[in-house]
Symmetry: C2
């Protein structure tokens, strides 16, 4: 099927076919320069009204790492403790404050579409989730492995890392070079005909 793709085979492998969710990592550090390169790539991918609600907290200090691990599900604690870098990915419920700058084609969008907090929360969560998909692929674009997780105490992380009450964690991602026995055998994917229908 790859003849229908323009993306070269090496890039297909790096981002999708060979890349795997890592559960163990080497000790090699992940630098701020690498994360900045990831961001400077994936920031271009689209969000509705260019709203870009994703916010990223890089957990680097041992003290912050302990605070995060305490809120992870038991099965996620060891890898969150040992990954070279862990990123907390959240949506900003007040993203609309930036819209006059981010969507200059219609600066009124902030008030016309997003004056109500529940509307902002729903739109922001969806668009931040798109951005998390882009971010995971961006980590892979840097030659790193991602270990995205959703097993954690959401309220606990929100209170611990976002005391303003205006953010909600959506995922926590371990980042690094894959270590020994980094992944399980790949699980099956749904067939095209199980996912795609035509009307």
């Amino acid at each position: 099927m790859t003849d229908a793709l323009v993306l070269d085979a090496a890039a297909q492998d790096l981002l999708f076919r060979e890349a795997r969710t890592a559960n163990t990592f080497t000790d090699e550090p992940v630098t701020d320069e690498q994360i900045q390169a990831v961001y400077d790539l994936v920031k271009y991918a689209p969000t509705a009204f260019n709203q870009q609600p994703l916010r990223v907290v890089l957990v680097r200090s041992p003290e912050a790492r302990e605070r995060l691990v305490a809120h992870m599900s038991d099965g996620n604690k060891a890898k969150t403790q040992s990954a070279p870098l862990v990123a907390v990915l959240a949506t900003d419920h007040e993203f609309h404050e930036e819209l006059p700058k981010l969507f200059p084609a219609f600066p009124q969008a902030k008030d016309v579409f997003f004056s109500e907090r529940p509307v902002r929360e729903a739109a922001g969560s969806f668009n931040a989730s798109l951005q998390i998909g882009y971010f995971i692929l961006g980590i892979r674009a840097a030659g790193l492995a991602a270990g995205p997780m959703t097993g954690f105490d959401r309220d606990g992380i929100n209170k611990e890392f976002f005391a303003d009450g205006d953010h909600e964690v959506l995922a926590v991602v371990n980042i690094g070079k894959p270590g020994a026995d980094a992944w399980f055998p790949r699980s099956p994917r749904l067939e095209y005909d199980e996912v795609v229908t035509t009307v």
Copy 2:
């Protein structure tokens, strides 16, 4: 910053730096083979418990196109009418039925974690949103432009295209080769320091 990336520059441009959300398209058809190639690439990107809740409806018949356009916001009607192909992207609230097959490492996950519908809806919506991010980049990997939209009558599309009550539309995406004046000037992106903090 690109020195920190392994992904080659052409792929960076194709997927992120040069790709744009298209608002007009040429008449060149988008084939089922192209969409199958997109799916056969992006299906490998990760979801929690390998749950893969995204479902795709390709709107090909003029009759179905009319039914869809009727539920789009006014500003999205013309482009949804004229795009070579339109895909309705939804989450399957009953994705857990596939988990014994999709997550053989822990076949009990279906009942242990996802027996409650609200839990499934939340998990599925998040993971399907990640998959929509992957799918948008996959469209670009096929040398096509995507025009993702969230401006539509959600309940209307749900009733019109998912009569079982077990699916919820999350996005509608126009797909094709970009036409004349396909996009506006690119809007600003948030700076790294506006998005990423370190603790």
